[in-house]
Symmetry: C2
Amino acid sequence: MVELAYVPRNEDGIATALGVLTQRLGDRVEKGAAIREQHAHTTTWLRNQAPDAVIFPRSTEEVQEIVRICATHRTPVIPFGTGTSLEGHVNAPAGGISLDFSQMDAILQVHAEDMDVVIQPGVTRKALNTHLRDTGLFFPIDPGADASLGGMAATNASGTCAVRYGTMKDNILALKAVLPSGEVIQTAARARKTSAGYDLTRLIVGSEGTLGLITELTLKLQGIPEAMSAATCSFPSVEAACDAVIATFQYGLPVARIELLDALQVKACNAYSKLNLPETPLLLLEFHGTEGAVAEQAALFGEIAGDHGGTGFTFTTREEDRTQLWQARHDAYWASLQLRPGAKGISTDVCVPISQLAHCVAGTQARLAELGMVAPIVGHVGDGNFHTLLLVDMDNPAEIARADEFVGWLNDFAISLDGTCTGEHGIGQGKAKYLERELGPGAMAMMAAIKRGVDPDNIFNPGKMAL
Amino acid sequence: MVELAYVPRNEDGIATALGVLTQRLGDRVEKGAAIREQHAHTTTWLRNQAPDAVIFPRSTEEVQEIVRICATHRTPVIPFGTGTSLEGHVNAPAGGISLDFSQMDAILQVHAEDMDVVIQPGVTRKALNTHLRDTGLFFPIDPGADASLGGMAATNASGTCAVRYGTMKDNILALKAVLPSGEVIQTAARARKTSAGYDLTRLIVGSEGTLGLITELTLKLQGIPEAMSAATCSFPSVEAACDAVIATFQYGLPVARIELLDALQVKACNAYSKLNLPETPLLLLEFHGTEGAVAEQAALFGEIAGDHGGTGFTFTTREEDRTQLWQARHDAYWASLQLRPGAKGISTDVCVPISQLAHCVAGTQARLAELGMVAPIVGHVGDGNFHTLLLVDMDNPAEIARADEFVGWLNDFAISLDGTCTGEHGIGQGKAKYLERELGPGAMAMMAAIKRGVDPDNIFNPGKMAL
């Protein structure tokens, strides 16, 4: 475990709030140890910090009522989606109430002509796409886990499709949210474009529950492409693969996904997913469009890849082959764990300008080799974002310390290349110490001023984002 | 003229600040009546409210120094780009200093591999694209006027290309800004994606100078398309044209521009630009892509248009024909003024969900006819955004009152259709009274809390955005 900052706890306030909430909601204020622990499950090496109780709200009005009670008694409120965040976002370092939104999972309105949908925050991305199947529309953000869309909004999630469709920030038209004051706001109209006032939508997206609790989302949808194809190509080096990626974008090829797997990751995937790929750096792509466009794009990419030393370019439109390849990519985490059974996987998340990507990945590999660490690399290389999965023996404090030191080194390295310590996982508790190094004291002061203005008693997810 | 809200003036503070600034900058603190009036030129029916002085800063450090002096003496600071904003954004209702950024017009870094550029705020969009010409890259936002990019960021400008390339919000990676405290912040790294803290970039974009003065912008660039083509198609009604637009998006056709001109606007353009288009509702389109893709997209659109009653579909890849058509669109404002020589043009800016667009445009035309007003309509219909240009005799108070009443009616109508009173012009002074109707008291309170947190003495562009 790595150490977490101390956040003071308001014992009396929490006890009073719990009493009032129990009076109001009875057994629905769940205080059992198991459910409390489960709602502080951090999935990484951060210690669990359980809330004092868990409530599953059923409506915006109920969230509003709970927030008002908690605000009166200065009791923390921590929103919970599916618990798949990676930086301690759902921990309760100062105690308080975890609000689990899984029962607010209604799809409220589908506007097919406007290509948008209004949903509650507990809807998961897979459930949404299943519901939309017959409309010819889909929601394109895919962070891997079947996360709730409220949680994905709160952390500005993205994933493999961001290179084509953007991140959560680019795909949310409006939010309904409950503020620390108990007020309910609608951040924007349902129009595609607006210049009406501060962009509260995008301020709340990525704010990790520190400014508002999302109770409704209006999401942009995309038309399901007529055709999709997958392609793979091997490269002699990470540099060659990255150069091919840069050339691809300069050419203006609208790839839907473009993922880098380093040699170690390919080896892990071969073993786990029964594939037979050359164990060198690999690019795995997906193209969306008409039958003709998809074939044309794949062929063009094949040429570009060849110009940069790519070999073994293969391309498939067969649904089962495409699914097998992308399933292997989605299983990369599980495949990696098999490289060192018993170890825990700790994921990094730096993102750098694409011109710096090869340098950053190669430097990372060299540093890992120096430290003798086993850590395969996968990257959303179209965005300059990559993850190393550090395989760490959690019973070995020296190894944990070394991994923590490596994470710090990598974040500083990315920052020195005009990059960020987090492309998509967010800050939470785990990355709080890197945020100021990245943005400087002025930006930190502005964030603190906003937080103080909106949540003067710091009851919404305290102890996160260095706030 | 329509009435403007009263904002109190801090006489003593302003006098002291002017003294200190003059001591520091000498003649560069310009106090002549002509230059002060020119910097409060609102281009519409809002009264000019001149600042006490104008300064042309030359660096971020100089802006910082000026802000510190103004903050000490609680003197307003109003940023100025090219003065093409439409809602009184550059007026100085409480006096103070206008900062004209036209001398901060350097293009600092072009990163071709990363497809981004770092510039100062005084660079205009045409100057930027001229500079970039040889790189094969361009910046796609085109609001019509050759505005400064700092001003375009401050108002979240967009225009005809937004349907394909998004608004300013979607095309800015990071900003450098001076805060009311005098601190300089960098809002984000240069990476394509980030989840590091609150999205200060998008909070400052569209905040109309009320939170930070932008002194550097990092912009995303696009590859210049291999081919471009233009097309026009006439429709029997606005409804038929809008249905064709909806079908175009449902099909997933990536049009680069898609503009609606109503019959009156077509008539005006025919007369002004020597065109010969049928005087019925018209869609004017542009396609970007490879030669093949552009031809395929145009042909597909032709089919869709035919299915919705479109006639006279024409399509051209000839540079001069394309330029002539789009020049006519860009000249629509001047063409409209010729419909009523001597009248002033007042532009509205509502934006509604696209399913509501035909209803909103037809309702608007009916209302204009009822009121006996002359007002051609052009629309960025892919976004659901349209402008009516009210031709108003500014010497006739009854007519001004009627126009003002119409603007209120239209904004309320759009809001009732889940739309916004401003798709791209912003709030400034002119739309302040509509913002709360659109977003409600909770969102207004959140904006006020943010403003208070960041600018407690309200010195940055006071009296704008209902703040």
